[in-house]
């Protein structure tokens, strides 16, 4: 949680967002049948599907306003002025570049990339290995400089993979090479490992951490994935190269 003074300043904006949310809820609720008929049923106001959203929206507006009032009383107009001048100044950019925030972007970018780009299109195992390896490298092995470099690389590779999948290029390539997304992910993993080895070879402690990371990044997805796929019989979101290989091994009749 933030410190109290910053919190009160942030409360003005979060309160405004709450009010806005409440207004949107009410606006949407107004489009719902109130007294008119729906599905052949003549409505009365107290059976309307809009009743509860209207109550919730109204309460959100009220509570948001109370929060803004409390925050304004605490920081005064001077507080708002300082927040606005902070937003308009170059300080905002240096705030965004603060180490804690960069660490935050690292987690969020990789989580978003994993969920929205890799999981639906790439075999679970290479996708999970890449995800773990990047995060271990960022937060366990490397320093802040490495984290920044890896964040840029993550952004670049997620954009590349996103374009590759969402433009339909993967479908075209798969006519000649099967599972192109999986192969590309393996290539990315290989590049990352080479980069890690070259980057950390002069730092014995970091190199040791990298070796540990590498082992866990491979073992963990296989443990989790095999439990879900073969013991709990949960088909993976996208099944490709590795799962085909595992299926062949698992269902092989000796």
């Amino acid at each position: 949680m933030m410190e109290i003074e910053r919190l009160r300043k942030a409360d003005i904006f979060s309160g405004a967002l709450v009010v806005l949310t409440g207004m949107l809820v009410i606006l949407q609720a107004m489009k719902m049948p109130m007294k008119d008929s729906y599905g052949g049923v003549q409505n009365v106001w107290y059976v309307s599907p809009a009743l509860f959203p209207l109550l919730v929206g109204g309460m959100l507006i009220l509570l948001g306003l109370v929060l803004i009032r409390t925050a304004l009383k605490a920081v005064g107009l001077e507080g708002i002025r300082s927040v606005l001048s902070f937003i308009c100044s170059s300080e905002l950019f240096s705030y965004f570049k603060e180490e804690n925030n960069v660490r935050y972007y690292g987690v969020v970018v990789n989580l978003l990339g994993f969920v929205f780009v890799f999981i639906p299109h790439v075999d679970f195992f290479p996708a999970a290995i890449l995800f773990l390896l990047v995060l271990f490298f960022m937060y366990y092995c490397g320093d802040h400089g490495t984290l920044r470099t890896l964040l840029k690389c993550s952004l670049g590779s997620i954009t590349f993979f996103g374009l590759f999948f969402f433009s339909g290029l993967d479908q075209k390539v798969s006519a000649t090479v099967s599972y192109p997304g999986d192969w590309l992910t393996f290539m990315t993993i290989a590049i990352l490992i080479v980069y890690g080895v070259l980057q950390l070879r002069t730092y014995p402690e970091q190199a040791r951490r990298f070796r540990i990371s590498l082992i866990i990044a491979v073992v963990a997805p296989f443990t989790v994935g095999i439990i879900f796929k073969y013991f709990l019989l949960v088909p993976m979101p996208s099944e490709g190269l590795v799962i085909q290989l595992l299926d062949t091994l698992w269902y092989m009749e000796f």
């Binding site: 809820v25 719902m32 059976v47 009743l51 995060l135 949960v234």
Partner: protein, 512 residues
């Protein structure tokens, strides 16, 4: 006769579980897993229950409950390891334990402290189990008299009290969080007319927001971001000597244990209030009632007993409203509710009719889990603490994978992931800005109950709110809600302090 029959059924269930090797293996495995989860700073019992919900999906309900309740009990206790040995609470529930546990470890008495927490945690769970068995039938019978207005007000009360007591900053933020949860609960086709609300034409939203992925996102993702965003904490671990059960110390402190257990059960029974508050309230009470409060914070055994008994007693306390009213008493209980719903069990007043032995089953599992926890704590503590040496940076990304695959596996729906992650990121920001997450979760769970019962009640009364004032329970609930809101105003606080000072003055005049 009825009581003897229930006791017979209770021991029958215990016997059945103990003679089934799978149940015993799951019981011990889950307790140990829970202890590991609790012990690792950053991992909580809520997260443990959330992740195991996906794994227990294919099990039968009884085995799933053994698994989930055992991890809950183990996780609540496991937090004390890091508190005592590292002075970093493994879970929020054991934060109060660190106050005296770590000074004890500094004196070279870590083994004694862990022995004491193990025994008092087990006793706390057993006492709370007794409450689950004895109070549940009474609450169930009482709740059967409830009409739709009472259920609507009860849901509203749950959200408001959870917001009031869990808000780390302003109470209004707790309430906002609760109403945001209610808004999320509105998404999907409404249950009375099947009108699509806030679905924006997305067919996956028609059936409403899936509770379990939202809970996994709300509890798991902020935890992952929080731990990875912060820097690696390197605390020197205190050495752990032989674990001593400390039965003698426990017997000498029986009154304190009973008081702490009662506090734990009481706090646990309040909707949405977790083990952390139980631990602190009990610790504070022990300190205030002690003849030597100055010894607290310097390695006082009573401090460790108070917090650990209360936080584990909270587990049973949280089960009381969950099983009888369908209102979760704590965040892990909210996860349990989600798991129960997945298994087709609908907790509430009708549970005693629909599944007459279910509450006894839960009580039996709590008893067995507390015993398994004691045995595991005594035998495996030295091995378990080794996990504290593993950096959390290695754990958290794996937890991320588990959150993702767990959310997906519930319904094999990739849309669950598209829901879980944004909810998790939003919840992280909310936590950062002082909004508690528990009321939001309670709001998501109780939203449908509040919505349907409000409209059903108004249908019966033809749009009149008068029955609220005509029925005693609803009137009491309404007055409590009004009091809860009014008591936050400054003028009310001023009025109360004036009344207090007037009364005090009168009393001192009378004394003169």
């Amino acid at each position: 006769m009825m009581i003897f029959e229930r006791i017979g059924t209770f021991f029958g269930i215990i016997g059945g579980m103990l003679t089934d090797p799978v149940s015993v293996a799951v019981l011990f495995g889950s307790v140990v897993l829970g202890i590991l989860f609790g012990a690792m700073p950053g991992l909580t019992s809520t997260l443990g229950v959330a992740l195991l919900t996906a794994l227990t999906y294919s099990m039968d309900t009884e085995l799933a409950m053994v698994c989930l309740l055992s991890i809950y009990v183990g996780g609540t206790y496991g937090g004390s390891y890091a508190s005592i040995l590292l002075n970093i609470p493994g879970t929020a529930a054991s934060a109060a334990t660190a106050m005296d546990g770590y000074p004890l470890a500094c004196k070279g008495e870590a083994g004694r402290a862990i022995g004491l927490t193990t025994t008092s945690s087990a006793i706390g769970t057993i006492i709370s189990m007794l409450f689950v068995v004895s109070i549940s039938p009474l609450i169930s019978m009482f709740a059967l008299e409830f009409t739709s207005f009472e259920f609507f007000l009860l849901a509203f009360f749950g959200i408001l009290i959870s917001g009031t007591l869990t808000a780390p900053d302003l109470v209004v933020k707790g309430w906002i969080s609760g109403f945001l949860g209610l808004f999320l609960a509105c998404v999907g086709r409404d249950q009375l007319q099947f009108f699509p609300r806030f679905t924006f034409g997305i067919p996956e939203l028609d059936s409403g927001i899936e509770v379990v992925p939202v809970l996994i996102g709300a509890f798991g993702i902020p935890q992952i971001i929080e731990v990875l965003r912060g820097h690696e904490v390197k605390a020197k671990m205190k050495e752990l000597q032989r674990i001593i059960p400390e039965i003698g110390t426990v017997i000498r402190n029986i009154p304190a244990i009973i008081r702490s257990a009662l506090i734990g059960v009481g706090v646990g029974a309040v909707p949405g209030i977790g083990e952390d508050i139980a631990g602190w309230v009990s610790y504070g009470t022990a300190k205030n009632t002690s003849k030597h409060p100055e010894t607290f914070g310097k390695g006082e055994l009573k401090g460790v007993i108070a917090s650990e008994t209360a936080n584990n007693a909270c587990v049973g306390g949280a089960m009381i409203p969950l099983l009888n009213l369908g209102i979760p008493g704590s965040p892990p209980a909210a996860m349990l509710l989600g798991a129960l719903m997945l298994h087709g069990v609908t907790p509430g007043p009708m549970i005693t009719f629909e599944q007459p032995t279910f509450i006894l089953e839960v009580a039996a599992i709590l008893l067995l889990a507390s015993m398994a926890m004691w045995v595991a704590g005594m035998i495996l503590a030295k091995q378990v603490v080794k996990i504290l040496k593993i950096p959390t940076q290695l754990f958290m990304p794996i937890i991320g994978i588990l959150c993702i695959i767990g959310s997906y596996s519930l319904g094999l729906n990739i849309f669950n992931l598209y829901l879980m992650l944004p909810v998790g990121i939003i919840c992280y920001f909310l936590t950062l800005m002082g909004y508690p997450i528990a009321p939001l979760v309670i709001g998501v769970i109780l939203g449908p109950m509040a919505d349907v019962n409000l409209r059903r009640a108004l249908m019966v009364s033809q749009g009149s709110f008068m029955p609220v004032f005509e029925r005693p329970v609803s009137l009491i609930l309404f007055l409590i809600i009004v009091w809860m809101v009014v008591s936050q105003f400054k003028w009310y606080k001023r009025l109360m302090s004036k009344i207090k000072s007037l009364l005090f003055r009168k009393r001192s005049h009378n004394n003169i």
